[in-house]
């Protein structure tokens, strides 16, 4: 370990603001793109299943009207 104490680690030899700004925004962006991909999978599944349900309903209605 390069740092003697936790506060040393946070201050990064006086460059803490810049180092943590970089790593913080990096983590946020990585997390953001990951979550977006994860959530859009669920959204895709929902959208497709909704459409399938609707198609099934239309088909049924058509058959009944015949």
């Amino acid at each position: 370990m390069q740092f003697n104490s936790f506060s040393d680690f946070i201050s990064m030899g006086g460059y803490g603001f810049y180092v943590w700004l970089s790593f913080g925004s990096c983590a946020l962006i990585l997390l953001g793109i990951f979550l977006d991909s994860k959530l859009s999978h669920q959204r895709t599944l929902n959208a497709v299943s909704k459409q399938l349900e609707r198609e099934a309903r239309i088909k049924k209605a058509k058959q009944e009207s015949k």
């Binding site: 970089s22 790593f23 497709v48």
Partner: protein, 259 residues
């Protein structure tokens, strides 16, 4: 010779392949991000000149490399999609673009946060920085072109053409530090030995590059799966997949209700 590849042109096979590869990429990404960040932030020695501020290199260089690597893969996929009319290659272009844009954004932000204390400025209109900014615009162009068209066939073609034309920017970014008088220094890792960087800093950097590459791989695979599903939504195999999924969910809900 290329016959073994043909099944992967089929959407369903490609989807299954994504599912098979995903866990490996994800495990490598998570493990190496943790190792890389702890090593880089806590255990690598400080630089003789830049002290602890140089630790930004452990995310700046990987994100910059991946921003260009992702663009190269995207341009290759665009080329394949245009020439061989492969639908999956076109979907890969769309899956890669947002991830590449995220990498470019990270490279730009971390570069600014590093430039301020060391150079004395958040931003300079230097050839390296400007061409990297243009890379971000190219990614955004590819994404917005795809979203602009209702007909996804022509949307894909438009995005592919832009992705391919924009590839001219890659050598400009790479050689900008040699061709022009830039404030940005030359490449640290030129050969696979990192002669310009001490071994105690080189290895954590390598771990971080691996981490970013695996992360990009993971997220691209996830997005590619979505794009395949969207494009193939009328096919029976997707219908089967959805029905299974909803059944599973209903079961889960039923279990919860029982408790």
């Amino acid at each position: 010779m290329w016959k073994w590849l043909h099944p992967y042109a089929k959407a369903q096979t490609a989807y299954r392949l994504c599912n098979t590869l995903l866990p490996y990429f994800a495990v490598v990404a998570v493990a190496s991000i943790i190792i890389g960040w702890v090593w880089g932030l806590g255990f690598a020695p400080a630089d003789y000149q830049q002290k602890d501020s140089y630790r930004i290199i452990f995310i700046h260089v990987p994100s910059a490399i991946l921003s260009m690597g992702a663009y190269s893969s995207m341009a290759i996929a665009a080329f394949i999609a245009l020439v061989w009319q492969l639908r999956n290659a076109e979907l890969a272009v769309i899956a890669i673009a947002p991830v590449g844009a995220a990498m470019t954004l990270i490279a730009l932000i971390t570069g600014a946060a590093w430039g301020k204390p060391m150079w004395g400025a958040w931003w300079v209109w230097d050839a390296r920085l400007t061409s990297e900014l243009i890379l971000l615009f190219l990614y955004l162009g590819v994404i917005s072109l795809y979203n602009a068209f209702e007909d996804k066939g022509s949307a894909g073609r438009a995005s592919c053409i832009l992705a391919l034309v924009g590839a001219i920017n890659l050598p400009i970014i790479h050689f900008s530090v040699e061709w022009w008088n830039t404030l940005h220094q030359g490449a640290t890792i030129t050969k696979f030995d990192g002669g310009a960087i001490d071994a105690s800093m080189f290895w954590p950097l390598m771990v971080n590059i691996l981490a970013f590459a695996a992360f990009v791989g993971t997220v691209v695979l996830m997005r590619l799966k979505n794009e395949i599903l969207l494009r193939e939504k009328h096919r029976p195999w997707v219908k089967g997949l959805i029905t299974n999924q909803t059944q599973l969910e209903n079961q889960n809900v039923g279990d919860k209700n029982a408790v």
